[in-house]
């Protein structure tokens, strides 16, 4: 009897001694998926890192209420119980950054996802950095070549641009990112591929493709898996952009592919609903627009020279790009590449829907040599697609010669735009392949102006 009382007392003393400050610890009172409610912890600050039970369970302070603190878990061994002690660290939850990340698959905290080991010789950086102000930005006008004709000609991407890639499952969205990353070889662009909610199998396949093309040497893959906790999935793209910003501040050009933001939005919805927050349209949290807008606003051409280009991906259903999350992101990005299921099945790959795709920067990010050809190809092609729809039932003999020529030209352009994966066009190859559009004789007044500018060809 005496012994066991002594035992309890000494354990209690040890317990108190082990915590640096008794007021810095609390107790779990409620556990719901990845949300932990804690009493005590009177002195924690918003976004402080805490341990629950032991150091395998990591969370951050998500809300401080009058009589309790809400913790979101980012990592757990699944062994948390009510009554477990919660230890505050007096530090904010931070991301980790090391230049050794190059060629690896890492998580936001600097663990190698392949081996599970922590990578060293890096520094702690904030998961989310302050916004990049309006006056710190400058014109986006240097091209970032994807090597894909349909994009570089008609919907060009500039360094510092945010260009959405959107389409149904299996329409080649990730492939466009991969092609673009592979095409950055020797172009002094650091690539970061952010995998959100990808299966492990998909990720491994993607990694081996990068290795095969030797593109992994300038690429970091930052990933959270499908089975990671939703709060970790939510933070992953922010941490990746924080890493990108480190490079940008050194004056480097960075390309960040985020694959994909629909899954990210779904993770945010999961968190908001579990946390019983008021929701907005389609049960997404009320601030889902801001969640994505502040993330994608990290993309910029900085006045000090560096840039962050972002290619976010969004997966749609049934080809509908007008759902809530898609339109939100379209309204944030500087343009979108829409991929179409129908084109893909017809063998028109990459399966770009030319009517719905847009680049708001357009010719501003193209070299002059490409600009003229690009805008002509786009105009001819859109006009062909629209005309082809209306005149599809008209007998070819009864068409005017102008119309017939237009339709033939359109078909020729469509054929030239077909391009297998990992076979990029250089600038000169693009010009050679598409210069036929400029030489076409016609009577259109607009195009005559183009011809008179022929010195560009």
């Amino acid at each position: 009897m005496q012994d066991s009382v002594n035992d309890i007392i000494s354990r209690k003393i040890d317990y108190i001694a082990n915590q640096n400050n008794i007021y810095h610890s609390g107790k779990v009172i409620k556990l719901n998926e990845f949300i932990v409610e804690v009493t005590g912890l009177e002195d924690v600050f918003y976004f402080e890192k805490v341990f629950i039970g032991n150091e395998e369970n990591i969370g951050y302070v998500d809300k401080i209420e009058e009589n309790k603190v809400i913790i979101s878990l980012v990592r757990t061994n699944g062994q948390i119980a009510v009554g477990d002690s919660v230890i505050a660290t007096s530090e904010a939850l931070m991301a980790y950054f090391s230049k050794d990340f190059m060629g690896m698959i890492v998580d936001p905290f600097g663990y190698d996802k392949m081996t599970g080991k922590k990578i060293n010789n890096g520094t702690y950086i904030p998961i989310e950095t302050p916004k990049i102000g309006i006056m710190d930005r400058t014109d986006v006008n240097r091209p970032l070549e994807t090597g894909i004709a349909g994009i570089d000609l008609m919907f060009p991407i500039g360094r510092g641009q945010r260009q959405l890639i959107i389409g149904d499952k299996k329409t080649g969205k990730t492939q466009i990112c991969l092609d673009t990353i592979v095409n950055q070889k020797d172009k002094k662009v650091i690539c970061i591929y952010v995998a959100i909610g990808k299966t492990k199998k998909e990720l491994k396949r993607l990694y081996s493709q990068l290795v095969e093309k030797n593109a992994h040497v300038y690429t970091i893959i930052m990933a959270s898996f499908n089975d990671d906790l939703a709060p970790l999935i939510k933070l992953t793209p922010y941490a990746a952009l924080s890493v990108a910003e480190e490079f940008m501040r050194e004056g480097k050009d960075v390309l960040v592919c985020i694959d994909d933001l629909k899954k990210h939005a779904d993770a945010c919805r999961e968190i908001a609903l579990i946390a019983e927050k008021n929701t907005g349209r389609d049960a997404y949290p009320a601030d889902i627009f801001y969640t994505h807008s502040r993330l994608l606003e990290k993309g910029c051409q900085h006045k000090d020279g560096g840039s962050i280009t972002i290619l976010p991906i969004v997966e749609t259903k049934g080809g509908d790009i007008t759902d809530y999350i898609s339109t939100n992101i379209i309204s944030i990005t500087d343009g979108q590449i829409v991929l179409s299921d129908k084109m893909f099945q017809k063998g028109q790959k990459p399966a770009i829907n030319f009517g719905l795709s847009v680049s708001r920067l357009g010719g501003a990010v193209q070299k002059d040599s490409i600009k003229m050809i690009g805008s002509t190809v786009r105009r001819e092609l859109l006009s062909y697609l629209e005309t082809a729809d209306v005149y599809q039932l008209v007998n070819e003999e009864s068409m005017s010669p102008e119309l017939r020529a237009k339709l033939q030209e359109g078909k020729k352009i469509m054929e030239a735009l077909k391009q297998p994966k990992f076979s990029p066009f250089s600038e000169n190859e693009l010009i050679n392949k598409f210069k036929f559009v400029i030489h076409m004789p016609n009577q259109d007044s607009n195009k005559e102006e183009v011809d008179s500018d022929g010195d560009i060809i």
Partner: protein, 451 residues
């Protein structure tokens, strides 16, 4: 010290007050913690606890931090110095510039009474065919530019700035709410380049800023416009891109405060919040405010509650449509939804009015015919329908226009078109004068008849 923090969440902080009677709604409170000033605005008071929304972020805030009260409520410079400057929504100058002396005014106070309201004025031409023809506006009008994501709202508002602002050289205010920072900077650079920066004042609460910031930009910007109208008796042009984002920011705040939303998460007080702002955008006998307001249509849903609430305040609307943009016709205007209060034979004249009616009749039939053609082909149409079909296509192409601000995409120089030329061209297309001209000749031109 007036109290202490007792609760912290993403966008709001609760404060336990020592003496509740010294705090009022809209008071600005602050804390100095970790060498950083955190600011808050009071939005709710319940006994000795008040809820506030934060100006910036809440990281590192904790319970017990002492809170102080600022002298002023939210205020912005109210003098000639506003011209040429760029402000954040809290009234700080963010362009590379400083104010010599400070004379600020509260951003919430002003309202226009029925007595001082002025509704008389003349037509204001924009040089954009489809606007001057289908939705003519006048000085003091409120014109809405509606569209879903990525169909060209910002391009059109920039074109209007280019045409109207550069033509009239009257002082202007630009309010950027929840839009892209990149575009904000580009706009600023362009205005500097065209030597017009001394005629404009800008406020930006862009999409990288939190909801508090985005919700205040409109009040600060309006106060600047009111300065020019009330104190300088000027005719002011006000550009707002994008007023929907104001409502969106309020939704975020409302959800954070735990208030029940109406449909799609919009705040309970949406109708009154929109009215508070829109009723301030008016003209008096001393000066006028002509406003151009971009309105984002969320999820391409034109019937969206907030869009309709904003629309009920406007004199005219221009609706952009994705299906038209998809065909490569810009500005991608849906002529059936585009209209203004001035479409009245007594104001624009009988000829213009009749041409609008006839155009709409043709284009309505054209959309019906499009469906028929997919099944039967053009050959099967009656002679009359075939005429309508070809003339409507010409008309549709004619209302595309090379814009000054999109020269970089199209390579075609922009054009201003006189409304009388538009009326002549439309009349000639409709009555068949141009029947033997190929339809592609009407695409991306200025006037056809006057070359």
């Amino acid at each position: 010290m007036i109290g202490k923090i007792i609760a912290v969440s993403d966008l709001s902080v609760k404060i336990l007050l020592n003496n509740p009677s010294e705090i009022k709604i809209q008071d600005i409170l602050y804390a100095n913690h970790n060498d950083h000033i955190y600011k808050f605005e009071v939005v709710e008071i319940n006994g000795n606890i008040c809820k506030t929304i934060v100006f910036d972020n809440v990281i590192y805030l904790k319970k017990g931090i002492p809170i102080f009260k600022s002298e002023d409520k939210l205020a912005i410079e109210y003098s000639d110095q506003i011209l040429g400057k760029v402000f954040d929504p809290y009234g700080n100058v963010i362009s590379n510039d400083t104010l010599k002396s400070v004379k600020k005014k509260n951003v919430y106070e002003r309202n226009v009474s029925l007595e001082e309201l002025d509704i008389q004025s003349g037509l204001l031409l924009t040089g954009i065919k489809v606007i001057d023809f289908f939705a003519p506006i006048q000085k003091g009008s409120k014109l809405g530019l509606l569209g879903g994501a990525g169909v060209g709202k910002t391009v059109l508002i920039k074109e209007l700035m280019n045409n109207v602002f550069k033509k009239f050289k009257s002082n202007s205010i630009f309010i950027g709410i929840g839009e892209r920072s990149r575009e904000g900077k580009e706009l600023y650079d362009e205005i500097v380049k065209s030597n017009l920066i001394d005629k404009i004042s800008m406020v930006f609460g862009q999409m990288g800023d939190n909801a508090t910031s985005r919700s205040k930009a409109i009040y600060s910007g309006l106060t600047l416009a009111e300065y020019l109208r009330d104190e300088k008796n000027q005719d002011v042009l006000l550009f707002v891109d994008n007023i929907y984002r104001y409502v969106q920011a309020l939704s975020e705040i409302s959800a954070e405060l735990g208030r029940s939303p109406i449909e799609n998460g919009y705040p309970t007080t949406m109708i009154s919040d929109v009215s508070k702002v829109e009723e301030r955008i008016n003209s008096t006998r001393e000066g006028s405010i002509t406003s151009f307001q971009a309105i984002y249509i969320p999820a391409d849903d034109y019937t969206d509650e907030s869009v309709q609430t904003i629309l009920s305040h406007l004199d005219g609307q221009i609706v952009l449509d994705r299906s038209i943009a998809e065909k490569g016709i810009y500005p991608a205007i849906d002529v059936f939804k585009t209209t203004s209060a001035l479409v009245d034979p007594d104001i624009i004249g009988k000829r213009h009015f009749d041409l609008i009616e006839k155009s709409l009749k043709f284009l309505t039939r054209y959309t019906e015919l499009e469906e028929i053609i997919v099944v039967l082909g053009i050959e099967e149409l009656s002679e009359e329908d075939r005429q309508i079909f070809y003339r409507s296509r010409k008309l549709r192409n004619y209302f595309s226009q090379p814009l000054f601000v999109s020269e970089q995409y199209t390579g075609i120089p922009g054009q201003l078109v006189d409304i009388n030329d538009v009326l002549d061209d439309v009349e000639n297309i409709l009555n068949g004068t141009y029947d033997d001209v190929d339809e592609s000749k009407f695409l991306y031109i200025g006037s056809y008849g006057r070359k």
